[in-house]
Structure formats: structure tokens, C-alpha cells
Amino acid sequence: MSSQTTVFVVDDDQAMRNSLKWLIESVAMNVETYESADAFIHSYYPGRSGCLLLDVRMPGMSGLELQEYLTAHQIAIPVIIITGHADVPMAVRAMKSGAVDFIEKPFNDELLLESIRHALMLDERQRDMQSQRAEIATRLARLTPREHEVMVMVTNGRANKEIASSLGVSAKTVEAHRARVMEKMEAGSLAELVRMAIHANLTIDEETLEE
């Protein structure tokens, strides 16, 4: 766990905040508590990694509303909802808005911590994916249009000859383009290139190219 990873707790009840902080810190995680949704929104910025523990029933903005606010602002922090009286519609609403978990009070400490760990892992993965996608995008930007075309076709599983005939060039030229693509994309193998293409959503592009 990186030291920057933080568990944000939003609950209007001070005892709850304190006790949660006490519990979560016992597994050496970084905890920040907020007494209302507004206070959280004011101090949080999207770059921070971690997860959010939300009480549903709060004066002012309720937990579910805060969750919807975050979704609306494309802030992808994993959310765990905590509620005193869970009912099905509320749970559905929370899950639909992308809550990672929905925990009913009083809860088992193991359950909560597990859920937090899961949420943090999701967060990390999300962030990895995001940075990978950004890396692939910078590499793709280096390609010439022709190389781009060749890469799309290659990752779609087309043989060099096919590519050569559809582009109206020699197989050798395709060969050369392909080598440059591998180089520029820093791909060690075709499989890696394909993975990158999937990350970058390149697969559908070929059809538009053929058109």
C-alpha cells in the first residue's frame, strides 16, 4: 500500500467517525474523517487515491446524493455505503451509482476491512489502467498514419500479405512498417501490441479504415 492511499470517512456522528478511524488505523491505513458531504467535497481533489466510506443518513447532502454527485463529476473513487437501516431500493440505488459495497450497521470489523481493502485494490487497478492508457496514447501519437493503419490491421490478426494487398503496397513495405510500429509502441511481442490496441480501443477502427 502506498503511503498516499487514504480511507475517507464521511459521517455526521462523531462517535462513528472516531470509532471508524480507530478501527481502520489499527490496520495501518491512512484515515481522514469529514462530518458532512460538503466538507469532503471541499477538501478532496481527484488525484488522491483511496476509497470513501459514506453514511447514508446525514443532514444536508445524504450519502447517496454525494455518491451521485461524484459520479456526475466523473470522480472515480470507490465508495462503500454504510447504513443503519438498509432497504432494497436504497441498496439498488447505491449499487447502480457504482458503490463498491453496501454495509449495514452494526457490522463485523473483518467485513468492513475486507471491503476497504477490495475498494483500495480497485482504486489502484483503476489508476494503473488509467496511466497505462495514457502511456499507450503517447506511443500511438508517435505513429505515422500509415503505421497506424498497419497496426490496426496487424492487431486485428491480418497477415502481412493481406495488409499489403488491401493497402496496395508490397509485403516488404508492410514488413518495414510493422517493425517500426513494434519499435515505436515499445512492444516486445505481438500479444503485447494486441493488448495495447485493446486498451486503446483500436479494434473497431479497422472497419472505418476499410470503408
Binding site: S26, R57, G84, D109
Partner: protein, 851 residues
């Protein structure tokens, strides 16, 4: 009036006073007449003058000729006389005469003959030129020559015819007068003749007229052969030996023959010349004189007439002025009576305006009259139609001529049917027809007393066949042609009814089950009905006696203040409400008492019941409360778990410091205490209460609920309607719980209707029996209703559409109803409001406890 003014301004004529106009007109008329008549008169005068002149000229010429001829005659006589003179006769008798001589003896002035005496032969200063004595043969013997002749004498003697005569002749263009006279000689002697020769010159002519002729008349001798004037009386103006033609312009010429004085070969005419100029002058003088006369006459005439006109018009003007002033004053019409100016024109235009005004006024008057007539007609017909009585007008035969509106309205008579029909047969009850006819006939005869025709009680049959008690009156109206009757019917059914009602009203107070009393200002009870007995007993007094002191004061106070006051009296377990109503004008106070014992009891029960309800209200809000409490309880419990778990983990991993752990433990204690507090509060809220089932009327419960929420409903402007089953709906239930359910439903409904426009919020509470074993209460609102998916979860716990609700009301209500083996259901859709059905089982055997 404006019209007059304008026309006056336009007509300058109207500004000149009438007298002046008449003067001018008079003068003008005179002038015109003068100019017209003057030339005519002149002409006529001239013609008369000319005619006159012609005849006068003739006369004058004849006169002058006569004078001339008589002058000649005088010469003839002169000659004759001389011839007879003795000297001449003597001379002839002498011998001398006998001695004839060869040549005649000539004498002259220096040697005159003896036979002639000087001055003997002169006529009018004229002497003959030659005097000649002739012998019987005509030969001259002696000649006396005063003037020598320019020719020989023989030429003259040639004219001698041998007898006495007078002859005129011309010799050498000179006229001469020759006179022969016989001289008488003694017998025996030859006769001898005397001849006188006179030259006819201007002097002769002048003398011939014997100074009678006027200077403008000239006489002359005309040689007719040569048409030449030989000699004229005035040789200065008319020259001799001049042709006649040249004088015709200047003179009027008349020529006449001198018969008997002329020789044979001579043709001398006697001519009279009258100066034209002179006659013309005369005529002019006469004409101008006549003109002057006429002019003066005309002037005088004109002046006189103009004066008369002037005077008359002045008078007329005065009169007109008075008339118009009188008109103005009498008619009060403002109009321009101008003091100066032509009163006639003014009056004329004024009269025009006056007539116009009269016509306008007449029209206006007629309109007004018509209007008034119409109004009076309308008024009368309104009076007639809306009279309190039905009025039927009959002719002498008793047939209906006219019917008023009241007859149609109040008696339902068909107007068409009545008109022309016999009224008694249509409208009077058969039993009373004889009476009616008698009334009519006595009224017609005028013999019956007035009373017989007035207010006779009868029974009328209305158009609908109903019988009505009436009072019938008849009057006769004598018109010029006929007599008609007005029959007045007054419906006294109402009055009789009213009389009966008044009579029964009098009994109202005595029949009143509540005490009614009346006290005068001294506190004496003047009236008390039967029901007042308990009160009178309590006060220890009777009717006609004085009230207790305390009540006397109250009566007085109420009377003085004039205000109704209310008091309560309770005795022997009875409660009376006593109202003191003062009637100031009569100095009485009415006391209306009401036994309110039962009401008070009911109120007390109700209050008791209400407190129970309030209590259960709290209990059942426990449903909602418990949700809140559960949450509240969750908080400390979760916190406790968290702290505890945190401690365990720290201790297991050996991380936590002691102080830190102790602090957390302390937190656990705090939270546990907090939970305890919450539970205490919960217990305090919910008192223990066993369920009690009793038989009650569902209607009664609904009524009670309705009265409970009345205030709230009013506050939210919800119109509450009750449709309660007429039969009682007995159910055996826990009254408080069921009322709580109903209350909950009603409150929900009111809440739901908050979104509806204020004023359109309607709440219906209804009860009915479904069948023998079920009754139903319905709560219906016109709120927004609910969607089906909302409806599904309506009875789930913690489901709420309200922001503040906990979603426990309906689930609990449902639980309660189900506990009563009943059903709670809803039918609703969006926009249609909601209807909640509460169905509760009943048992036909159930009986409501008596009240």
C-alpha cells in the same frame, strides 16, 4: 333665436326704421308717377293747343277779312255821302258843268276845286289819291289830284261799268281801291258819277283793322296767279312783292277771296299771316305754366302722403314694438326686440321664430304628454297588474273584459279562458254563486248598501281546481257608453293560515321542552312554561313572584346593557344553560334555559376519550419512532463494535499504546451509556396498554376523527365531506386503535393534497355496510395519487414518500386492521387521488351499548 339674429344681421333693411322707409317709398312713388305722367300731360296739352290754334286762326282770318271788307264798305259809303253833298250837287247844277270841255279840269292841293271842302274826304287819316267827277258817259270832267298817279287816269276809268260799285285792282303791281258813286242831279239833267281812287298800301291795311289786330298778325294781299304778296300790313316783317312760299315757315298763312270787290281779271286774295314763333312761344309759356302747376301739386301731394305714411308707420312701429315686447314678456322667450330698426321685419322674423318655437313647444308638449300618458299607462297597468288583489273587469252582462296579473299568478286563471267568459261560472264555487250574483246585481242597481259589495267571504276555484277562501269586493264604474264592474278577489287562505299559525305559535313557548321564562325589570316572573318547573323549584319561587336577589340583579344588568348574557346553573346533578335575552322596548327579559346535563357528560366523556387517543397517538407513532430509535441505537452500537475491534487488533498486533487503548475503552463506555439512554427514552415513550375491544358504531368513530382533524383541515383549506351510512355500523374493535388508523389515513390524505391548489382540496369520509359480516370506511382524497410501483411498497416498513416520514404509519395501520381481521387496501393512480378502504368484520348479533 340664433336664426333670427343672423337673419337680422344679414338684412340691412331691418335696421332702418319703418317710418323712414315709408317716407322714402312715398317719395319714390311720387317721383315715378311724376316721371311717367308728365310727358303724357304735356303731349295732350300740346294737342289741345294745336287744335285750338287751328280754329282760332280760322276765326282770326275771317275776322280780319270782315274788318277789311267793312273798311272797304266805309269807303263806299264815304264816296256815296260825298256824291250827295250839296256843294257837289250845286256844282253840277251850275252852268259850268253844262259847258262841256274838251279836256278835263285838273285841280291840285294848291288849287282845290270849290265843290270840295278840305278835310271832308278823309277816312281814318287816309285821303283818296284822286277824286274824279265823271259825266254820264264816264268821261272825266274834273279831277282833284292829291297824289299824282304813276299812270294815266284812263286806265282806271276803263273799269267803270256805269253804276255805283267798289272795285280793287292792281296796276303796275300796285293795288288800288276804286269807288264809284252816282251824283243825284235835279231832273232833267244827265247823271254824273264821282270816282275815288285810293292806293291800298300797308297803312291802308293797318287802318283797315282799326287797331284791333295784334302785332303778331300780319295781313296782306296775295296775287294768286303769281303767288306773290303785293302788299302787307307790316312791311318791316313781311316784305311786299315777295313770293308767299318763303313765309310759310315763319308764319301760319290763311288766304281768302274777297268776293264782290274784284275786277274781272283781277285775282287778289286776302291773306292773314300769324307768326309761328309767337304761337309757339305762347304754347311754351302755357305748357311751362301747366308743368309748374302740376309739379307744385305733385310736390304738395307727395309731401302730404309721405307725412301721413310717416305718421302711420311710426304709430305701427310703436304698436309692433309693444306687441313684440309683450310677446317677450308674456311668453318669457328671449328674443331680440331691437329698439331701432324695422319693427315690421323684426316682428315678422320674430313671429316666424315664435311660430317655430310654438311648433317645437307643441311637439315637445305632445311628446311629453304622450310620455306622461305612457308612463301613467305603465304605472297604472303596473298598479293594476301587481295589485295585491286579483282584479277582474266585467261588462254589464257579467262577461270578463280584463284580468290583471295577480289573477293569473295567484289564482292560476287562464287569461284566454277567462276573457269573454262568465266569471262566476269559471271561478266562483257553486255554493257561493248566488251570493256573488246578488252582490253584482245590488252593485249594479246601486240600491244595495256599500257593505253588501265589500269584502264578502267566498270560496273561489282557482285555475288548477283548488279551492281558496277569498274576500270578494265589487265596484261599478260608470263610463259614458256603459257600466263596467271591477271584481276584487283577495286570497285570504294565507291570512287564515297565518292566523292559525299565530294561534299555534302562542303555544310554542308553553310546549317548549326547555324552560322559557319572562321576567320584568323588577325581577317578577311574568311567564314560565311547564318545563321551567325544576328551575322554579330550585329558585323557590313561582310565576308572579320575584326572582332570588342574585338573579334579579342579573336581569337588571342585562336589561340596562341591552346585551344577551349566558349563565350556567347546576343543581341536583343537573346542569342548565340559562340565556338572558333583554327586550328593552318592553322592559322584559326572556330567560331561555336548556338542560345541558347530558351534553356536559358527553363532553367529559369525549375529553377522557381524547386523552386516551392522545396517548395511543404517542404509542402508534412509536412505529415511526422505533425506526428512528433503531437508527439511533445503531450508532452507539456500531461505534462500540468499531472501538472494540480496533482495540483487539491493536492488542493482537501489539501496536497500540496503553493510553490510546484506555481512551478507546472509555469511548466504548460512553457509547454504551448513550445506547442505554436511548432505550430509556423509548420506554418512557411507550406506556404499556392492553388492547380493549368494545362494540362501537363505525359512524361514530368517523365523526370523531372528523372533528379531530377539523382544525387541521381548515388550516390546509381542505373541504371535508361526510357520507355516513344511515344505519349504525356496530363493530367490536379497539376503538383507540381503529381511530388511530383512520386518523393516520386522513392525515396522509391532507398531506397528499398539499400539492393541490388551495380551494380544490376535497376529502370524503364515507361509511357503508358491505354485507352482513363486513362494514367499510372509506377515506378519499383528490391529491396527486400514486404510481403503481409506489403503490406496491405502500405498506412496506420504512417506505415513505414524505421527506419527514419514517414510512411506518401505513404498515402499522395495516397491522392493526389485520389484527382486527379486517383489510386495509388502496386504489389509486397518478392524478386521480387515492381511496383507502378500511374493511372491518362485523357480526349481526352485535349491539351497540345504549346511550
Amino acid at each position: 333665436m340664433r336664426g333670427i339674429t343672423t337673419s337680422l344681421q344679414q338684412s340691412w333693411l331691418a335696421r332702418i326704421p319703418l317710418p323712414w322707409i315709408s317716407v322714402v317709398v312715398g317719395l319714390l312713388c311720387g317721383l315715378v308717377t311724376w316721371l311717367f305722367l308728365d310727358p303724357i300731360l304735356n303731349q295732350r296739352l300740346e294737342k289741345i293747343f294745336q287744335d285750338n290754334l287751328a280754329s282760332r286762326l280760322e276765326v282770326r282770318s275771317i275776322e280780319t277779312r270782315h274788318r277789311f271788307e267793312s273798311f272797304l264798305q266805309e269807303w263806299s259809303s264815304l264816296g256815296h255821302r260825298f256824291a250827295q253833298h250839296w256843294q257837289v250837287v250845286d256844282h253840277l247844277s251850275s252852268s259850268a258843268w253844262e259847258d262841256s270841255l274838251e279836256s278835263p279840269i285838273r285841280y291840285n292841293r294848291r288849287r282845290p276845286p270849290a265843290w270840295i271842302e278840305s278835310g271832308q274826304l278823309i277816312l281814318s287819316s287816309i285821303e283818296p289819291d284822286q277824286v274824279v267827277l265823271l259825266d254820264s258817259d264816264g268821261g272825266p270832267r274834273e279831277i282833284f289830284q292829291s297824289e299824282a298817279l304813276p299812270f294815266p287816269l284812263e286806265r282806271l276809268t276803263d273799269f267803270f261799268s256805269g253804276r255805283e260799285e267798289v272795285v280793287m285792282t292792281t296796276i303796275q303791281r300796285k293795288p288800288y281801291l276804286l269807288v264809284w258813286s252816282g251824283i243825284r242831279r235835279t231832273e232833267g239833267f244827265d247823271p254824273a258819277f264821282l270816282m275815288l281812287v285810293v292806293e291800298i298800301d300797308d297803312h291802308f291795311l293797318d287802318e283797315s283793322q282799326q287797331a284791333v289786330g295784334d302785332p303778331d298778325t300780319v295781313i296782306a294781299l296775295l296775287d294768286s296767279e303769281n303767288q306773290e304778296l303785293i302788299v302787307s300790313s307790316n312791311r318791316k316783317s313781311v316784305f311786299t312783292t315777295s313770293p308767299l312760299g318763303i313765309w310759310k315757315e315763319a308764319y301760319l298763312v290763311t288766304s281768302q277771296a274777297l268776293v264782290g270787290y274784284q275786277g274781272v281779271d283781277q285775282n287778289l286774295l286776302f291773306t292773314t299771316l300769324v307768326s309761328r314763333e309767337a304761337t309757339m312761344r305762347t304754347m311754351q309759356n302755357i305748357l311751362s305754366l301747366a308743368q309748374q302747376d302740376r309739379f307744385i301739386a305733385a310736390l304738395v301731394f307727395m309731401a302730404a302722403f309721405s307725412l301721413v305714411f310717416f305718421l302711420i308707420s311710426t304709430k305701427i312701429s310703436h304698436v309692433l314694438q309693444r306687441i313684440s315686447r309683450f310677446g317677450q314678456q308674456a311668453l318669457g322667450i328671449e328674443q331680440p326686440v331691437v329698439k331701432r330698426g324695422n319693427q315690421m321685419l323684426l316682428l315678422e322674423s320674430w313671429i316666424k321664430a315664435f311660430f317655430r318655437q310654438v311648433i317645437v313647444a307643441r311637439d315637445k308638449l305632445r311628446l311629453q304628454q304622450e310620455e306622461r300618458l305612457k308612463e301613467s299607462e305603465v304605472f297604472k297597468s303596473a298598479l293594476f297588474d301587481n295589485s295585491m288583489d286579483a282584479i277582474i273587469t266585467l261588462d254589464e252582462q257579467g262577461q270578463v273584459i280584463e284580468v290583471n296579473g295577480t289573477a293569473v299568478r295567484a289564482f292560476g286563471f287562464d287569461r284566454e279562458k277567462l276573457l269573454g267568459g262568465r266569471f262566476d261560472e269559471i271561478a266562483i264555487h257553486p255554493d257561493y254563486r248566488a251570493k256573488y250574483r246578488h252582490m253584482l246585481s245590488s252593485c249594479a242597481r246601486k240600491s244595495g248598501s256599500n257593505l253588501e259589495c265589500r269584502a264578502q267571504s267566498m270560496v273561489a276555484v282557482t285555475g288548477h281546481g283548488e279551492e281558496r277562501a277569498i274576500e270578494c269586493s265589487v265596484i261599478s264604474i260608470h263610463l259614458s257608453q256603459q257600466t263596467v264592474f271591477n271584481v276584487y278577489l283577495r286570497d285570504v287562505t294565507g291570512r287564515k293560515q297565518a292566523e292559525r299559525e299565530i294561534a299555534s305559535l302562542a303555544k310554542l313557548a308553553s310546549e317548549n321542552p326547555n324552560p322559557v321564562l319572562r321576567a320584568n325589570k323588577r325581577g317578577v316572573i311574568v311567564y314560565a312554561n311547564t318545563a321551567s318547573k325544576p328551575l322554579l323549584d330550585y329558585w323557590g319561587c313561582e310565576r308572579g313572584q320575584t326572582l332570588p336577589r342574585y338573579w334579579q340583579n342579573l336581569v337588571n344588568r342585562s336589561l340596562t346593557a341591552g346585551e344577551t348574557e349566558e349563565f350556567e346553573v347546576s343543581f341536583d346533578g343537573q346542569v342548565f344553560s340559562l340565556q338572558l335575552a333583554p327586550i328593552q322596548e318592553l322592559d322584559y327579559v326572556n330567560l331561555y334555559a336548556r338542560d345541558i346535563t347530558q351534553m356536559r357528560n358527553a363532553e367529559m366523556q369525549s375529553r377522557q376519550h381524547q386523552s386516551e387517543l392522545v396517548h395511543v397517538c404517542r404509542v402508534s407513532t412509536m412505529g415511526e419512532m422505533s425506526t428512528g430509535l433503531a437508527h439511533e441505537l445503531n450508532q452507539p452500537l456500531s461505534a462500540i463494535i468499531n472501538f472494540a475491534s480496533g482495540c483487539v487488533r491493536r492488542i493482537q498486533s501489539g501496536v497500540g499504546g496503553e493510553a490510546e487503548l484506555v481512551d478507546a475503552m472509555a469511548q466504548i463506555t460512553v457509547q454504551a451509556e448513550r445506547a442505554g439512554e436511548i432505550i430509556k427514552r423509548l420506554r418512557a415513550l411507550v406506556g404499556k396498554r392492553p388492547q380493549e375491544h368494545e362494540v362501537v358504531n363505525l359512524n361514530h368513530m368517523v365523526l370523531e376523527v372528523a372533528s379531530f382533524i377539523e382544525y387541521e383541515a381548515n388550516r390546509h383549506r381542505v373541504e371535508v365531506t361526510l357520507e355516513l351510512s344511515k344505519e349504525s355500523l356496530p363493530v367490536k374493535v379497539d376503538l383507540v386503535q381503529i381511530e388511530q388508523v383512520l386518523l393516520n389515513l386522513v392525515r396522509n390524505a391532507i398531506d397528499a393534497m398539499k400539492v393541490v391548489t388551495s380551494g380544490d382540496r376535497k376529502l370524503l369520509l364515507k361509511t357503508k355496510r358491505l354485507d352482513d359480516s363486513r362494514v367499510e370506511a372509506i377515506v378519499m382524497d383528490n391529491g396527486p395519487g400514486m404510481a403503481p410501483d409506489t403503490c406496491e411498497h405502500l405498506f412496506d416498513a420504512f417506505f415513505s414518500t414524505k421527506e419527514t416520514g419514517m414510512g411506518m404509519g401505513l404498515p402499522i395501520s395495516k397491522k392493526i386492521i389485520e389484527a382486527h381481521y379486517g383489510e386495509l387496501s388502496v386504489e389509486t393512480s397518478v392524478g386521480e387521488g387515492a381511496i383507502f378502504h378500511v374493511v372491518i368484520p362485523t357480526d349481526p348479533a352485535l349491539e351497540l351499548p345504549g346511550f
